[in-house]
């Protein structure tokens, strides 16, 4: 089977999966007990049946189930997520705003943790059983075992409460007297200053997994013959490690990075909660407590989309990185 057929097959498979996930999202939130009406409307606000009907109509809750499902699937595919029960703002509007914050937070920490994890993992594998290896493995396992919210709490306790180095919460100083774009440096600096602790927390939460995986894969690779050959050629040790060995060891890493997108939200919810960071995680948590179905459906759908896309891309990327991979 050639590359093209493989890609077509993967696309079909991904689309089917996506549909199943969309349907599951529908079912889960339909099965949820409690009338969303009661949640969205303050008690006493809705006075008569006509008003109730009007509100039901507005949120499209009057239609029979199959029409609601059809509308829902169409809305999902066209990224039209409806109106939030909580504050009655279109979900798509708020998503954009929230997503940027989460993307910055999670993006930076993911990149940082991958870089740190890979470098330390390679060094660990190179000096297997040495002091550095032991320190690396034990600290990676320790950080893996620590609850991420607790790391955040300790950071706040030490660096915010006692040392006053970083702010306690939020993404910018309240009442900061600066205008975009003239004072861009001040604003940017302020944002970065607010980001240090959340990013550090998330990075510590994630890097351990990458370190251990890199180490394990590199241990396998380093015993291969071509590494011996590269060494025999008199190449620098750094070149051997990072150019020859790491390239071949990177396949499982890519799969892992792709799969980890599903877990990113876990870290985001907790970190954003601890640091009052107004991103998707905080929003998701609030929406769960308020039974805000449109928001929840939108977030779950987008998450599934991201994960599926990442898995799909990683499968395709395999072939470009490693020509030995046969599709099929």
């Amino acid at each position: 089977m050639g590359l093209r057929e493989y890609i077509v097959k993967r696309i079909i498979y991904t689309v089917i999966l996506l549909f199943i996930v969309i349907t599951l999202n529908f079912i889960i939130f339909m099965l949820m007990p409690g009338d969303p009406m009661a949640m969205f409307a303050q008690p006493g606000k809705i006075r008569d049946e006509a008003q109730r009907q009007a509100v039901m109509e507005r949120f499209g809750l009057n239609d029979p189930m199959y029409i609601r499902y059809g509308k829902y699937v169409l809305n999902m595919l066209t990224f039209n997520f409806g109106i939030s029960y909580m504050n009655q703002v279109p979900v798509s509007e708020e998503i954009g705003d929230r997503m940027i914050y989460t993307f910055i937070l999670v993006g930076i920490s993911t990149v940082l943790s991958i870089i740190i994890g890979i470098i330390l993992g390679v060094l660990s594998a190179y000096k297997r059983g040495g002091k550095l290896d032991t320190v690396n493995v034990v600290s990676a396992l320790t950080f893996y075992s620590l609850p991420s919210f607790w790391i955040g709490m300790i950071f706040l306790l030490v660096f915010s409460v006692h040392l006053h180095w970083f702010p306690i919460s939020g993404f910018q100083t309240v009442g900061l007297n600066a205008v975009w774009p003239q004072d861009w440096a001040v604003i940017l600096g302020d944002r970065l200053w607010h980001m240090v602790l959340p990013v550090a927390t998330l990075t510590l939460f994630m890097y351990g997994g990458y370190l251990l995986l890199t180490r394990a894969v590199m241990l396998e690779t380093l015993t291969d013959d071509y590494v011996l050959t590269a060494r025999a050629k008199g190449l620098k040790e750094r070149t051997v490690l990072f150019k020859h060995a790491l390239k071949n060891a990177s396949l499982p890493l890519i799969t892992n990075v792709a799969l980890s997108f599903a877990f990113v939200m876990t870290g985001a919810i907790i970190t954003e909660q601890v640091f009052s960071w107004r991103g998707m995680g905080q929003w998701l948590f609030k929406s769960i407590l308020f039974y805000d179905y449109p928001v929840l459906q939108a977030i779950f759908y987008l998450l599934a989309l991201v994960v599926l896309a990442a898995n799909f891309l990683s499968d395709i990327l395999y072939g470009f990185i490693d020509p030995r991979v046969k599709y099929g």
Partner: protein, 588 residues
């Protein structure tokens, strides 16, 4: 028979060898020791602490520091003081402990009395105290000649307050029943101070009299009608902020739990005398008084009620003024004053019980207290119970599920394999923690729901591993020969396939406990934990949502415990993996 025995012998030897190898591994040994420590904390939790982690609040000042810490750094601190040893007047010897001055027409005696209802007992004494008998009976036979007042003064043994700082709060509880006081209205005074009752005045705190240093808590008239109960000075008529939970015959006094206190939160109170609905601002459904059962027979009317009165910090923190000359000798005095009104004909009696005084210290126990005055060591050991229980059980459920799915998919193959693996794929795409959060809100925050959810959403990776192992096992010659010998699918799976994947099962069991423990902690931290149990995550939740997160003793012990236990399981699992699946050993 002989064969079976030797097989068992062989297995025992194998297990012994494995154990020996594990113990030789330094990291695994570390893990095992930590697990044994936390395991015994969990098992012996009720023996290690006299308190209950949920019910016992206000044991000491909020955020009291650990005692050893205060001693070690020589921080000026105070501890709880209970000046009256036999508060509950359990035995006849309670009477001689008090110095009694009384008018000639007033007499006091100790009577045996078992008429306390269970409710009043738990409300006043707290859940840990046992129900005991006895109270003081004060009879007024008349008034002395030419006097309009008859007095009875009960002075407790002086106690030495030895701490360098004043207590930040104190509480006085007093239980009384008054009979026939319309002709001789009585007033109750409670004093705490350094002086005898003769020199005590009516000075209130605001005056700040340095010489007298006596605080008169109340001189309220004793009434026969029902009154509102005051707990810690907070009138309970405003159920918005505080509520009394009545749970298994004990009373929990707390704010409504959880972050999601919203319009739908509907609390049910099974309290016999205080029933509040947090949604409605209605009067209590039943009265705040309790019938005195036993003595009803010889009382004149049936309207007599037993009343509980708490003299809490009615004023803003009088403790520091009352105890301003610290350290020193102090006394507690209860004074009862009858006033003549018209032509007194006799028959007035007052029953007194539960003369309870507590001075709250700011250092407590081995790990201090949290914002609600609950013992943190108690929370730690009971938290170990819950965290380990949830972690182990959830890991077990997920491993069993993963094993089943993996075996079926791998061995049966074909359509079964396809369906099961696609199902696995779907579950892998769904976001883990958000889904659990949603389901917890849907199903309700209970421990069993959490275990089921964690188990059902944690098996996918393991199922894949088992499937791939079974796929390669299926083609091995020994399976072929079993098939050729006519063995059925069930037999082959149970006798040939499962024993070969068991090593992976043990390892996965050990390594998936931390994931469950961490998930439980995260959920509890977000306020979705089981409200009936305390866990390490919930201790951290309480800390995060109050001022507790700024105190190291609130944050460090539970967090480190989660980390240590998780790490131990991982190290143990890795060591087990090295020993049971020796793939890596050949390479140097």
């Amino acid at each position: 028979m002989q064969k079976k025995l030797s097989k068992r012998q062989f297995r025992i030897t194998k297990i012994r060898e494995t154990l020996a190898k594990i113990i030789r591994n330094k990291r695994a040994l570390f893990g095992i020791i930590i697990l044994i420590i936390y395991g015994s904390l969990a098992v012996f939790a009720p023996l290690l602490t006299p308190y209950d982690p949920i019910r016992d609040k206000a044991l000491s000042m909020p955020l009291s520091m650990p005692l050893w810490y205060a001693n070690f750094l020589q921080i000026p601190h105070s501890e709880n003081v209970l000046p009256i040893s036999d508060s509950y007047l359990d035995s006849p010897s309670a009477l001689p402990e008090w110095t009694i001055n009384h008018s000639s027409t007033v007499n006091i005696s100790w009577i045996n009395f078992t008429g306390f209802t269970r409710e009043i007992d738990t409300l006043v004494r707290g859940p840990q105290e046992h129900r005991k008998a006895g109270c003081f009976l004060i009879n007024l036979t008349g008034f002395p000649e030419n006097q309009t007042e008859a007095t009875l003064t009960l002075t407790a043994r002086p106690f030495i307050y030895s701490y360098p700082i004043a207590p930040q709060r104190f509480k006085v509880v007093l239980l009384y029943l008054a009979k026939k006081v319309e002709l001789a209205p009585a007033r109750m005074f409670v004093y705490i101070g350094q002086n005898t009752v003769e020199s005590m005045t009516d000075d209130f705190v605001g005056v700040g009299n340095e010489v007298i240093r006596t605080f008169q808590l109340s001189k309220q008239n004793i009434k026969e009608n029902s009154e509102t109960i005051y707990l810690d000075g907070l009138p309970l008529q405003k159920p918005k902020d505080y509520a009394i939970f009545y749970n298994n015959g004990t009373i929990v006094f707390s704010k409504p739990p959880g972050r999601n206190v919203n319009a739908t939160a509907n609390y049910k109170f099974y309290n016999r005398y205080l029933i509040y609905d947090s949604n409605r601002e209605e009067k209590p459904l039943s009265e705040t008084t309790i019938e005195w059962n036993q003595l009803l027979a010889d009382s004149q009317s049936s309207t007599e009620k037993f009343k509980v009165r708490y003299f809490g910090d009615v004023m803003a923190d009088p403790a520091s003024i009352v105890f301003s000359k610290k350290p020193g000798n102090y006394t507690v005095v209860f004074q009862l004053v009858f006033q003549k009104k018209g032509n007194y004909t006799g028959g007035t009696a007052v029953f007194l019980d539960n003369l309870y005084v507590k001075l709250y210290g700011n250092a407590f126990g081995s790990l201090g207290t949290d914002t609600y005055g609950s013992d943190l060591f108690c929370q730690l050991v009971f938290g170990a119970q819950i965290s380990l229980f949830i972690g182990l059980l959830a890991a077990f459920v997920s491993v069993v599920l993963g094993l089943t799915v993996g075996l079926l998919a791998g061995y049966v193959g074909g359509l079964t394999d396809e369906i099961l693996m696609r199902f696995t794929d779907i579950l892998l795409v769904l976001p883990g923690l958000p889904l659990i959060l949603v389901m917890m809100v849907v199903l309700g925050a209970s421990m069993w729901n959490l275990i089921i959810l964690l188990g059902f959403l944690g098996w996918m990776g393991f199922a894949r591993t088992v499937r791939s192992m079974v796929l390669s096992l299926r083609e091995r010659p020994f399976i072929e020969s079993a098939k050729a010998a006519g063995a059925g699918t069930g037999y082959i799976i149970s006798k040939h396939v499962i024993p070969n994947v068991m090593t992976v099962v043990y390892v996965t069991l050990a390594t998936s406990v931390p994931a469950a423990i961490l998930s439980e902690a995260a959920l509890s931290f977000l306020g979705l934990g089981d409200p009936l149990h305390i866990s390490w995550g919930k201790t951290l939740y309480y800390a995060e949502t109050s001022q507790g997160w700024k105190q190291w003793f609130c944050v460090l012990p539970p967090g480190l415990s989660i980390a240590l236990v998780s790490l131990s399981f991982i190290l143990f699992g890795f060591a087990l993996d090295d020993i049971l699946n020796p793939r890596l050993r050949a390479r140097k």
